[in-house]
């Protein structure tokens, strides 16, 4: 079954809810190696996204995701605002005009999002950022795609890989983002951005599985 416009709306709603529920947790992770705002940032951004969803019930998936991107850029701020904002903008561009997504579309969407985050943030794998959840997730997604799996299973594998990637950030020494100022002291803590990235992918997987 392809991913429908309705699925995307439910994914965004579920992400809003999950990020709201995990706001204190994300902020706590950000307290250890950052500035104690990642939870409120994501919560603020997705709450704004949520408020726009009703008016977007007729937009195609591309337009929908682009609006998510511009809304995040306009309401989040910090590092996560431009990064997640750009990710959704690019995802929207990659799915312009679409009313549903087959597995290759899903992969293209995330590939575009990843490209956006990399271009905007100039980071790469292993620097203790959201990329350390996103990159392995997309790799797992591509593997699943080459196994001809449907979107729901692709997303399920992506979420698992994102979670593993997220946990791998614990041992990393940050070289990008605010945690990099801590140098060696950044090791031993899980990256908040990698965590929110996993939460969002898990939300997608949960929606498709339901």
């Amino acid at each position: 079954m392809p991913v429908t416009h309705e699925d995307i709306l439910r994914w965004l709603q579920r992400s809003t809810q999950v990020l709201h529920e995990n706001s204190a947790y994300l902020t706590q992770l950000d307290s250890a190696i950052g500035d104690a705002d990642h939870g409120s940032n994501m919560d603020r951004g997705f709450t704004a996204v949520s408020a726009k969803l009703a008016s977007l019930s007729n937009a195609d998936i591309g337009a929908l995701l682009k609006t998510v991107g511009t809304t995040l850029v306009s309401t989040v701020g910090g590092a996560s605002g431009p990064l997640y904002g750009t990710a959704f903008l690019r995802a929207g561009m990659a799915s312009a005009g679409k009313q549903s997504l087959e597995t290759p579309d899903v992969i293209a969407l995330f590939d575009a999002a990843l490209e956006g985050v990399k271009t905007r943030g100039k980071a790469q794998a292993g620097e203790k950022t959201m990329l350390d959840a996103l990159i392995p997730a997309i790799e797992a997604g591509k593997q699943a795609a080459s196994d001809q799996l449907p979107p729901a299973q692709v997303l399920q594998r992506m979420a698992v890989a994102a979670e593993t990637g997220m946990k791998s950030t614990i041992d990393m020494v940050a070289t990008k983002g605010r945690a990099s100022y801590l140098g060696e002291r950044s090791a031993g803590h899980q990256d908040p951005g990698a965590t929110s990235c996993w939460l969002i992918l898990q939300a997608f997987s949960d929606i498709l599985a339901a």
Partner: protein
Amino acid sequence: MKKLINQTEDVVKEALAGMALAHADLINVDLEQQFIVRKDAPIKNKVGVISGGGSGHEPMHGGYVGYGMLDAACPGAVFTSPVPDQMLAATKAVDGGAGVLHIVKNYTGDVMNFEMAAELAAAEGIEVVSVVTNDDVAVQDSLYTAGRRGVGVTVLLEKIVGGLAETGAPLAQVAEMARQVNNQGRSMGMALTSCTVPAAGKPTFELGEDEMEIGIGIHGEPGRRRAKLASAADITETLTTPIVEDLGLKAGEQVLAMVNGMGGTPLLELYIVFNELERILKGRSISIARSLVGNYITSLEMAGCSITLVRLNDELIKYWDAPVHTPALRWGR
């Protein structure tokens, strides 16, 4: 959490409303688009100078909007970079046809959001040059990392560059002066206590009764290392030496010195630190030609201080001394 606030989500909005009321003679505050702008902006043919960053560093930046300093400031949520929309709106509001300088502190979030704003402004035909401050010697400088943070120099730069912009100097010259001040300035800070981000509701980190954090930034983040509490003399030495060495300050040179409180440290103590700083610099035959002692770039209620030194020359002194009239810094008029 003990704060003089109402709802945590209203902190920035209500503080801006209070600021607007308290300084109605100097500034306008656009509460909708969330930026603070000089009452007389835009000024025809004057380069607009704007800055911005998370809230919680007051008086920076909003307190520096006014004659001879900033044309506008964009405050984000507490410790969160503002968004491009605010910066674009502020840029348009101060553009008097001579272009706009964006003063950006080097944090991933600030840099990216200002970058997006500059792209948007360019698309609307406004010439924007961005200068990034990165003066924190606590952080190793490297091409492969996020680099050094922008801290105390930002305040001094805004004053000097604002002074030059007030003369009607062109954008390229104003930007060049900004780069020069940033190159000639270094800072380092320390904390005796953490601060509490209102939305987080509890201290960002815990510190023992006999501990301090050395090499902190301005967002309540832990520092480079934790150390045993020490005397004002030792702490001042710890902060000053890396600054002097990184700047390569030599005997006979003169500096602009700022002893900055992080928000929760009494002025009494900052003067003690200034006394130590003067002693240390005198020992190296470096003279303090100009100085600031007080809370200028803070981390909410954090106790602690930072030291900033900027190597001076006659031109920098001239624009430092030039009249300034903002809520937080005022002289000469």
